[in-house]
Amino acid sequence: MLFIALFVLGSCQQEEVPTVINCGDGEILVDDVCIKEKSDFEKTFDATDLMTNYTLTISIQQSADLYEMTMMVDGSKSSFEMDDQTEFFEKQGSMIDRYYPVGEGYRKESITQTENDSFHFFKDLEASWFQTVSGKYFLKTDYNDEVADFFQGEFPGSTVSNLELIVGDTYFEQIIFDVTVDSVMYRFTMTLSAVGTTTVTLPTV
C-alpha cells in the first residue's frame, strides 16, 4: 500500500504557474519579449520602406535654375517624367523593359538592371538618425555621409547637408536637402504623394 502510494505521489508533478511578463511603459510584448513601442515618427519609416506604390516629385535647384521631374512606382511598373517626356519601365525577372518616346509613340528595349548595393536613398533612412530642432526633424550631421553614399557613384567627394524630413500620419511627406558637388550646391526637394493610389499604364508599342 505504501508502495502504491509512493508510486502515485511520485508520478505527480507540481503544476507550472504561468509567468506574467509585465512590460514597462512605452514597451509592447512581441513574441514574449518586451520591446520599445515605436513612436508615430518611427512608424513612418517602416511604412515608407514598405511602399510599393507611390508618386515622388523631385525638384533640383541650382542657383536660379530649377529642374523638375516626377517618378511613379506601381509595383513592377514605374515611370520617369521630365520636360514633358516620359520614360516607362517594367521589371521582367532580372531584366527591365524600358519604353522610350520616339516621335509620337514609344519603342521598347530590354535592359539589364545595374547591380547596386549602395545606400537606397530615402528608404534606408533610420529614425534614430534624426533630431528635432524647433519641432522639425533634421538628419544628425553624423549621418550626412550615410545619405551622401547614394551620390558617391556619380559624384565622388560630394557631400549632403541640411536634410530635413517632414512626415505625415503614415508616410514621409517631404525630404529637403542640399548636395554639394565641387563647390556647387544643389537643393533637392522630394515630395511623396498618392501612396497606394498611383497607377502606371505602360504605352502600347
Binding site: 517618378m71 513592377s76 520616339v102 537606397h120 558637388v181 556647387v184
Partner: protein
C-alpha cells in the same frame, strides 16, 4: 660708207620717234622685302625705289595673292555693303569682308582690296559701281559704262577678264534647293507685254497703276537695284492677282497673260530678274568691275587712254593673274612722299604687275580708295597699306581671297519637276550614347541636320550631338540624288533640352533608384 651713214641716220630717226621710253625696263631697288603666308595666301611688302623711264621714285608696294586654280578651298569672292533697296551705299573693305562672311558661312575672308570705281554723287546712286558686279551668280550691277571690263571668277578656279555683253532681261525661277526650274525671257521693264506669250516686269519706281487684266505675280523683293536704265530684282512670291494695282515699295510685279497659271512660281521658290549676261561670263559666280587692261600676254600695255590720269602718280590698285592661275592684288601707296610713298602712274603699275609675273592685269579704283586688308591672328583685319586719306575710305565694293569651298550650284531641274520628293525624316530620339536617331528614309543619300538653324551633314540616320546645355530645335531633311528624287522637306521640329552634366548625372542616379524600386 654712204650706206652705213644712211643706216645710222635711219636708226637714230626710229629711236627719236618711238616716243617716251614706255618700253623701258623697270628697275626695282629693294630696301626691304617681307613675305608672310596666311591660310595659303601670300602677302609681300616691298619698300624701295622704282626706276622707270628715267625717273626714280620711292615706293611701298603690297602684294596679296593665292593660287585659286590649284586649291579648291581658296577662292575669289566679291563683297559690298549695298543696301537692299532704294539706294546703293558704300562701306570700307573691312565692312565688305564682314558682309561676305555674313552672307556665306562657308567663306572665311583672308584678305582683299578695294574694287571698282563708283558713283560719288549725293543721290541714291551714291556707291553705284561704274562697271558690272556679279554676286553669287546674280548680276546686281551691269555697268553704267557698257565698255567697262569685268574680272570674273568661276567655281572651277578659272578667271574671266573682259567686257561682258548683255542680251535683254531674264526671269530665273529657282526651287527651294536653289536649282533652276525655268528661265523666262522678260520682254521689257515697266511696260505691258506686247503679246500673249510675253512677260514683263514692273519695279517700284513705276508709280502708275498697272491697269491691265493680265496675270500679275507680286514678288516680295529681297533686293532691288535700279538706276532708271538698268534693273535687278530678287525675291519670293507674295501674291497673285488680275486686278488693277500699283507696285508697292520693295516689290516687283511679273505681268503676263496666263503667267503662273501652271504654278511655275510657288511660295517656296526664289526668283531673280536681271540682265542676261554673256560673252564668257555665263557661269561666273563673282565678278567685279575693273578698268584699264595694263598687262596683256605678260607684256605691259604701253598705250593707255583711259583710267584716272594714266601718266600721273597716284596710289593704285590692280588685279592680276599669273600663268599658273594665281590671282593677286597689288596696292601701291602714294600721295605721301614724306613716308616714301610717291605713287605710280599706270605704266609703272603695269611694270610692277609684270614684276610679280602677271600675264594679265587690270587697273582698279585707286587714289584714296586704294586699300589692302589681311586677317590677323585675332580674326580682325589689318590694313596693310597706308591709305592716302589717312583713313580707310568707304568704297563701292571689294574683291577678296577667301578660305572655303563654294557650295555647288544644283543642276537645273526643269519645269514641271517630275522628280519624286523624299519622305520627311521622322521618329526622332536621342539614344544612350547621346546620338540623335531617326528612321532612315528610302532612297536618301544622306541627311541635313539643322540645329537651331545651323546646318550639319550626316551620312546616315544617326548624328552625334555634342551640345552644351540649352534648348535646341532640331530639324532634319533627307537628301536625294536630285535626279530621280528630290530632297525631302525639313522634318517637324524636334525639341531637345540638354541639361548641365551634373543634372544629367543626378537624373541617372534617380532612374537607377527607380528601377530598384520595382517589385516582381
Amino acid at each position: 660708207m654712204k650706206k652705213l651713214w644712211s643706216l645710222l641716220i635711219l636708226l637714230i630717226t626710229i629711236f627719236m620717234f618711238v616716243g617716251p621710253s614706255v618700253n623701258a625696263e623697270m628697275r626695282l631697288f629693294i630696301t626691304t622685302k617681307e613675305t608672310e603666308f596666311v591660310e595659303g595666301v601670300r602677302h609681300t611688302e616691298i619698300v624701295g625705289q622704282l626706276e622707270y623711264d628715267g625717273v626714280t621714285s620711292n615706293q611701298v608696294i603690297n602684294y596679296l595673292g593665292a593660287n585659286v586654280s590649284q586649291f579648291a578651298d581658296l577662292n575669289v569672292v566679291v563683297g559690298d555693303s549695298y543696301k537692299p533697296h532704294d539706294s546703293w551705299g558704300r562701306g570700307t573693305i573691312i565692312a565688305h569682308a564682314d558682309d561676305i562672311e555674313e552672307r556665306y558661312p562657308n567663306y572665311d575672308v583672308i584678305g582683299g582690296v578695294n574694287g571698282d570705281f563708283y558713283n560719288t554723287s549725293i543721290t541714291n546712286l551714291n556707291g553705284q559701281p561704274q562697271g558690272g558686279y556679279i554676286r553669287n551668280f546674280e548680276n546686281i550691277a551691269t555697268g553704267v559704262v557698257s565698255t567697262r571690263p569685268l574680272a570674273g571668277f568661276k567655281d572651277d578656279g578659272t578667271a574671266v577678264f573682259g567686257v561682258p555683253c548683255y542680251s535683254g532681261y531674264q526671269l530665273l525661277v529657282y526651287d527651294e534647293d536653289g536649282a533652276l526650274k525655268k528661265e523666262v525671257a522678260v520682254e521689257r521693264i515697266n511696260d505691258l507685254p506686247t503679246a500673249n506669250d510675253k512677260v514683263t516686269v514692273y519695279f517700284d519706281n513705276y508709280d502708275m497703276p498697272i491697269s491691265s487684266t493680265h496675270n500679275k505675280v507680286v514678288v516680295d523683293a529681297k533686293e532691288t537695284k535700279m538706276d532708271g536704265v538698268r534693273y535687278f530684282g530678287s525675291g519670293v512670291l507674295l501674291s497673285e492677282n488680275t486686278i488693277e494695282m500699283t507696285v508697292q515699295d520693295h516689290q516687283f510685279v511679273i505681268v503676263g497673260t496666263g503667267f503662273n497659271d501652271d504654278d511655275l512660281i510657288t511660295s517656296l521658290d526664289y526668283v531673280v530678274v536681271q540682265r542676261k549676261i554673256g560673252c564668257g561670263f555665263e557661269d561666273v559666280r563673282f565678278a567685279v568691275g575693273v578698268y584699264d587692261e595694263i598687262v596683256k600676254d605678260g607684256v605691259p600695255v604701253t598705250y593707255l587712254e583711259r583710267g584716272l590720269d594714266p601718266s600721273f602718280k597716284h596710289p593704285r590698285t590692280a588685279i592680276g593673274q599669273k600663268a599658273d592661275g594665281t590671282i593677286f592684288f597689288v596696292v601701291v601707296d602714294g600721295r605721301n612722299k614724306p613716308l616714301g610713298m610717291d605713287g605710280v602712274n599706270l605704266y609703272e603699275l603695269a611694270q610692277i604687275m609684270v614684276y610679280f609675273e602677271a600675264v594679265r592685269a587690270y587697273n582698279m579704283d585707286g587714289g584714296g580708295s586704294s586699300t589692302m586688308s589681311l586677317k590677323n591672328e585675332e580674326g580682325s583685319y589689318d590694313i596693310l597699306n597706308t591709305p592716302s586719306d589717312n583713313t580707310v575710305r568707304s568704297v563701292s565694293n571689294g574683291v577678296f581671297i577667301v578660305k572655303g569651298e563654294h557650295i555647288p550650284r544644283p543642276a537645273p531641274v526643269g519645269f514641271p519637276d517630275m522628280r519624286i520628293r523624299l519622305d520627311k525624316p521622322a521618329n526622332f530620339f536621342v539614344d544612350s550614347n547621346g546620338d540623335l536617331r531617326f528612321d532612315p528614309v528610302n532612297n536618301s543619300l544622306s541627311y541635313m541636320v539643322s540645329i537651331n538653324g545651323t546646318l550639319y551633314a550626316s551620312d546616315d540616320d544617326s548624328f552625334d550631338l555634342d551640345l552644351q546645355a540649352g534648348e535646341y530645335v532640331i530639324r532634319v531633311r533627307a537628301l536625294a540624288d536630285q535626279i530621280n528624287y528630290k530632297h525631302s522637306d525639313f522634318s517637324e521640329d524636334f525639341i531637345l533640352i540638354i541639361h548641365p552634366d551634373d543634372v544629367n548625372r543626378f537624373i541617372n542616379l534617380l532612374k537607377e533608384f527607380l528601377k530598384r524600386e520595382m517589385t516582381e
